[in-house]
């Protein structure tokens, strides 16, 4: 808790809340993804959402961005309850956000320049020289000004993600959401993305939510961390606090232990019985 821009009073903290997830339940069919999830992201800070694969990290982003609605509970972004917003209001809310997708999600029929210019052309009537200047500035920030006329198919995974980052910030969003930004990147590209996320936050003051399971990278950039497991937030605090935690779940995740509170094996029938076909034989016997 050493950061100077961390709010000091309760009211200041309430004013600073950008995203508030309160007691959210979400289920797909009978499978419950969240069972009373609580998460808060504050203005100007980098909030890390961590957790093993399949804990619903990306689903949480989909809930925050209004792509899907929670079964119950409340989810507010800038004080607006996302699930009750009309489409027009939701789109107005999204214009204040940027999102970096896991695979970049660049528009494959447009080149790098046009991809970054896309939201500008769609939402503004800026002149062509101004759009050019804006796009080149953003591409320069991610180090890809020289790749402006390349097609997405010609880019490496790391380059595509940097272009997607330039596109995500071209409209100067107040909230930037990163979905697994480090997946599949080589160490150099990963270092570049980590540096860019930190820069976007420190220089432009953008509130960031980063969903990932790369503990080391997140520890280097996050102000606040949440660890999700089995539909709930099992630990929260600064990365240092999480690292000092004695909780079994936290230790298993941070130390990369295969088995523990999060079991290695997906629920299955008894191994011996299944190999020996005990269940099948019993079934056949009953049928006979």
């Amino acid at each position: 808790m050493t950061d100077s821009n961390r709010p000091t009073s309760a009211s200041a903290q309430a004013d600073d809340v950008v995203v508030e997830v309160k007691g959210v339940h979400y289920a797909v069919g009978r499978r419950e993804i969240f069972a009373g999830l609580d998460v808060i992201a504050r203005r100007g800070r980098i909030t890390a959402i961590m957790g093993p694969s399949g804990t619903g990290k990306t689903t949480l982003l989909r809930l925050i961005t209004g792509q899907t609605a929670p079964t119950s509970g409340e989810l507010h972004v800038w004080g607006e309850r996302v699930s009750t917003l009309a489409r027009r209001d939701l789109y107005a809310l999204r214009r204040r956000m940027g999102m970096l997708f896991q695979n970049g999600a660049l528009l494959t029929d447009l080149d790098v320049f046009e991809n970054v210019a896309f939201p500008v052309r769609e939402h503004t009537r800026l002149s062509e020289p101004l759009i050019r200047e804006l796009v080149l500035t953003k591409l320069h920030a991610v180090g890809l000004r020289g790749a402006a006329r390349m097609m997405p198919s010609e880019l490496s995974g790391g380059m595509a993600r940097r272009v997607a980052l330039a596109r995500a910030v071209v409209m100067d969003p107040e909230l930037l959401i990163y979905d697994e930004p480090f997946v599949g990147l080589d160490p150099i590209s990963m270092g570049v993305i980590v540096r860019l996320i930190r820069q976007m936050n420190r220089v432009l003051g953008i509130t960031s939510i980063v969903v990932s399971h790369d503990v080391r990278e997140l520890a280097a950039i996050a102000d606040d961390s949440y660890l999700l497991s089995q539909g709930r937030c099992v630990a929260s605090g600064s990365p240092e606090e999480l690292h000092r935690s004695e909780s079994e779940v936290v230790r298993q995740f941070l130390d990369g232990v295969a088995d523990g509170p999060v079991p290695f094996h997906y629920p299955a029938p008894d191994y011996r019985d299944q190999l020996l076909g005990v269940g099948r034989r019993a079934q056949r016997g009953r049928a006979a």
Partner: protein, 255 residues
């Protein structure tokens, strides 16, 4: 019991699908109004759906016309009225073969391209990315492609008919020695504006149906490689069956 249950399931599924397509059609029509304000996007799609289908349309039109010339000549000469070959070819092409064959070819060429393009955009999160940029993919992607298809179809039918008539004339007049004057003058005398209108209306209806099916299947593609393949196949099958069904309904209505 299981047969009855599966039949009910099929019926319910079919009705649900028809309802979903109907709702989607309404949504597309609503988005067509703002999409028309961006003619550049539409022109691009007319080029994609129309100009890029030109070669296959012209080639098929030529062969269909030649076959029509041969068959028509064979049939008409039995009654000693081979001079009416021009009328037979023109009416056959304008009212029936032109719109139907073009629609079937359109479904196979442009329809599948539309479905796989939109389907891949769905599978690679491009549509979701647009929504996250507060851009409605229905307005930016679906509506221009739909309008492009509807505009391209009558143009393709006109070209198909023209090339088809040339093929029929080539076989009838050049190879089978039908009198050129009789071929063209009888055609001019017998073909009415109503016949042209019938073909035009059919082409617009088929264009609407095929484009709608293509964008619907693409937009609702399951985001997997197999899903895109399945959606593309469904586009061809559904568009072809729908074209022939609508053709019967329209023909009955015009008679």
């Amino acid at each position: 019991m299981s047969v009855a249950a599966s039949r009910d399931g099929l019926l319910t599924g079919a009705l649900r699908r028809i309802g979903a397509v109907g709702v989607f059609f309404g949504a597309v029509l609503l988005q067509c109004v703002p999409a028309l304000a961006r003619p550049r996007l539409i022109v691009h799609q007319v080029y994609n759906a129309g100009a890029r289908s030109l070669i296959i349309i012209m080639l098929c039109g030529f062969f269909v016309g030649m076959v029509l010339g041969l068959q028509g000549f064979d049939l008409l000469q039995r009654f000693g009225s081979e001079d009416a070959l021009g009328v037979a070819a023109a009416l056959g092409l304008l009212k029936e073969l032109g719109p139907v064959v073009t629609a079937l070819l359109f479904a196979g060429r442009a329809g599948t391209a539309l479905t796989s393009e939109i389907g891949l955009m769905r599978a690679t999160d491009q549509l979701t990315a647009m929504q996250m940029m507060a851009v409605d993919p229905m307005q930016r992607i679906v509506a221009p492609r739909f309008i492009g298809g509807v505009i391209a179809m009558p143009l393709l039918v006109a070209i198909f008919n023209m090339v088809g008539l040339f093929g029929a004339q080539l076989v009838g007049v050049q190879l089978m020695d039908v009198d050129a004057g009789a071929f063209w003058s009888q055609m001019q005398g017998a073909v009415q504006l109503n016949d042209v209108q019938e073909g035009f209306i059919k082409s617009v209806v088929f264009g609407t149906a095929c484009s709608l099916v293509a964008v619907y299947e693409g937009y609702h593609t399951e985001p997997t490689a197999a899903g895109v393949g399945l959606a593309t196949t469904r586009t061809v099958v559904t568009s072809s069956v729908l074209t022939l069904l609508l053709d019967y309904i329209l023909t009955a209505a015009f008679l």
